[in-house]
Symmetry: C2
Subunit: 415 residues, 2 copies
């Protein structure tokens, strides 16, 4: 109904007064003008930005009166950035972006050429540093929500590595009832990607809630999950980082150092400190991206230790030539007889020993990962190797892909 012209009536005057009071209150709290948006669940308590709109769009805001240029940039799934922000008269910059893929995304501000965190968000270890992250609600995301079911615990486990001579910290999920059941449990070792660390799977991945919910529903066996830092660099060396032109020799050397930590330090530590079932039938190895490459490298060499192997969004190396560079080793035909030093050469034997061999990938992942996985899957299946090839619909090289992998992998373990 149109408002009649002329002086507003009494009800309108009261409404204006209340609105003005509310506006003052909001200004005092740093609240945005009322719309249908809400602070992201990943915001620090009380932070009003970033905000997620009902239609999934996201508004980012930063007060930077002196800035000359300010963008939002971020990881796969946030959208095709960077997103230039616009300056308001008060020096507050903002931008509203199209709905990102649901799930977790790293992001940062580019403030006059310097990548800086958003003071409104939690940080997560990614890109080899503390990086802002945002959680975009997923209507199908109940599987990683904290819910009113029996909950496990996430523990820190420090240990002195005989391999590196340094103190290391693993993160360990113990299932609901662990403290009182007196039972022994199988173990899933679950590794992060490049630039991340042992906190990735519980903070970005919400692995503990995925397990809690699966176990509560009777869909996964209660298990211990161990997450370690996938680096074992010599003391004082720069952290290992994969590059496209790196020869396989260097990759193997770095993975071998982590393999030594895993086999000689981590697994014995866990088997001592927790009530594990310390045999191959009750031990799984999984990892994402670089952690998936480590899973294939280490797992396929130690089938006496692991009966379950899951590589998530992992580039799959074809050859064994130490001089070959990573980029070229991911292309070309995958030869199931020779790949991974012949681990798949005898398909019948492989199928008998390996209870799960999982290659997951997001349908929106870029190359070479998508083709690399697809080529390996086709060749392995043609050679008679039993495997599960999982495709996460519409997700890229991002945590929502890996949450979905875990949702599907965990029920297939130890059953």
């Amino acid at each position: 109904m149109m408002q009649p012209r002329g002086l507003p009536n009494r009800r309108v005057i009261v409404a204006i007064g209340v609105a003005a009071l509310l506006a003052v209150g909001r200004a005092a709290l740093g609240v945005e003008p009322a719309d249908d948006s809400m602070p992201a669940s990943s915001n620090v308590p009380g932070a009003q930005s970033p905000r997620i709109h009902r239609d999934g769009r996201v508004t980012f805001t930063l007060k930077a009166p002196e800035a000359r240029s300010l963008d939002v940039a971020g990881g796969d799934g946030l959208g095709k950035g960077p997103f230039p922000m616009t300056r308001a008269a008060d020096g507050t910059w903002s931008v509203t972006i199209a709905p990102p893929v649901p799930g977790f995304h790293y992001y940062w501000f580019d403030l006059d050429g310097v990548a800086v965190n958003d003071p409104g968000s939690r940080t997560y270890f990614g890109y080899s540093k503390e990086t802002s992250g945002i959680e975009i609600p997923d209507p199908h995301g109940d599987f990683y929500a904290v819910r009113n079911v029996p909950l496990g615990q996430v523990r820190t486990q420090w240990y002195l590595s005989s391999t590196t001579g340094e103190w290391r910290r693993a993160v360990v999920y113990t299932p609901p009832g662990y403290d009182t059941s007196g039972k022994r449990y199988p173990v899933l070792i679950l590794q992060h990607g490049m630039g991340e660390d042992e906190t990735g799977w519980t903070r970005q991945g919400r692995a503990q809630f995925i397990l809690d919910n699966l176990i509560a529903a009777g869909q996964a066996a209660p298990m211990i999950v161990v997450m370690d830092r996938g680096y074992a660099d010599p003391r004082g060396a720069a952290p290992f980082a994969l590059t496209a032109d790196m020869p396989l020799r260097d990759i193997r050397a770095a993975f071998s150092r982590f393999e030594a930590v895993l086999m000689h330090d981590l697994i014995p530590t866990i088997d001592r400190a927790y009530r594990t079932i310390p045999d191959r039938d009750h031990r799984a190895l999984a990892g994402l991206s670089m952690g998936g490459m480590q899973t294939l490298f280490i797992g396929l060499r130690h089938l006496d230790t692991f009966a379950y192997i899951a590589a998530l969004s992992s580039p799959v190396i074809r050859g064994n030539d130490p001089d070959e560079k990573l980029a070229s080793s991911l292309l070309g035909p995958f030869d199931a007889r020779t790949a991974f030093d012949g681990a798949f050469a005898d398909a019948a034997k492989f199928n008998q020993r390996v209870k799960l061999f999982w290659l997951g990938v997001g349908t929106a992942e870029g190359e070479p990962i998508h083709s690399s996985v697809r080529g390996a899957v086709d060749a392995l299946r043609a050679s008679g190797v039993r495997l599960e090839h999982f495709e996460s619909q519409g997700t890229a090289h991002e945590w929502q892909t890996w949450r979905r992998d875990l949702l599907e992998v965990a029920p297939r373990l130890f059953r």
Copy 2:
């Protein structure tokens, strides 16, 4: 020995060649020119800045070619900042500051008026957001180092609060041997300060290592330590923050909400989930700054629940008038008969019930905290109340004060 003038000899030429090669190697790794400095232990792996010199000075560096002004600023103990940085020709800004107080310090960059984190450092929850931190080595800091002794675990404990209706996360330290001893343990509840959260005592405070080391030396009883988020704000409200002109009524209201969470949700959760000794003689309450105020407010009202009370660097409120403002309530005479609703009125009874009453403070803390504590200590002692007054030499309102408090408090608990 002076080098003879003229052409350098063969040995010098070789030395120059090696130095040049090393310089190239360092440049490739992003390493600073050789001096006596080392990356701080709080740096993210591989980060070359900030660096700590052998004499304790600290050099901070940030590449920001477009910046017009760049400072380092930080919390108590870092030094009298902000510290203006100087721009080099390549757009890298740096400053070397005088040796800070040993221990942990929050800090940040002021980049053209925006407070941003240092990509080289870990972040810690402080100032109500993720904030960079630096660990300055302390020659007497062995007590909080991870050492080759039996280590406890740090666990996350989620619980659904009946008080707030929300899921909350506590952090729980279990002592070495907890999983296998079958024993029951006393409980210390240990709270953070304003703008911090449940992660403060283990990340900034290193409480787990302080306990591990004390327990290994037989100097503290094995105990469970519970660290919760000291807020219980109504859903959607801005987080509680103390201000000087806040009336005591508002402070009591906020603390009462946390009191309800602590008494009705947290303690029952812990007593169900862990092998505790669930009585007052085996329960302690301690906290720093705002957490110390909460400790006094809650602890003194619940002497049937807590036999040990420790307030660290806590402003001590004198009066009971709900209209009085915080700033004025911290000044003036402390009346032991009336303060805290008469909790100290009967000194003999208080001394009989309370096994430890601890008021700690750093000698370098500012006002009103220092005078507020001192006045309360003098008045309480004069009235016959038994207490321990600890002064941390040369430290301010900072974590090194509170690490030292814990080092002294823990041995006095449960013995």
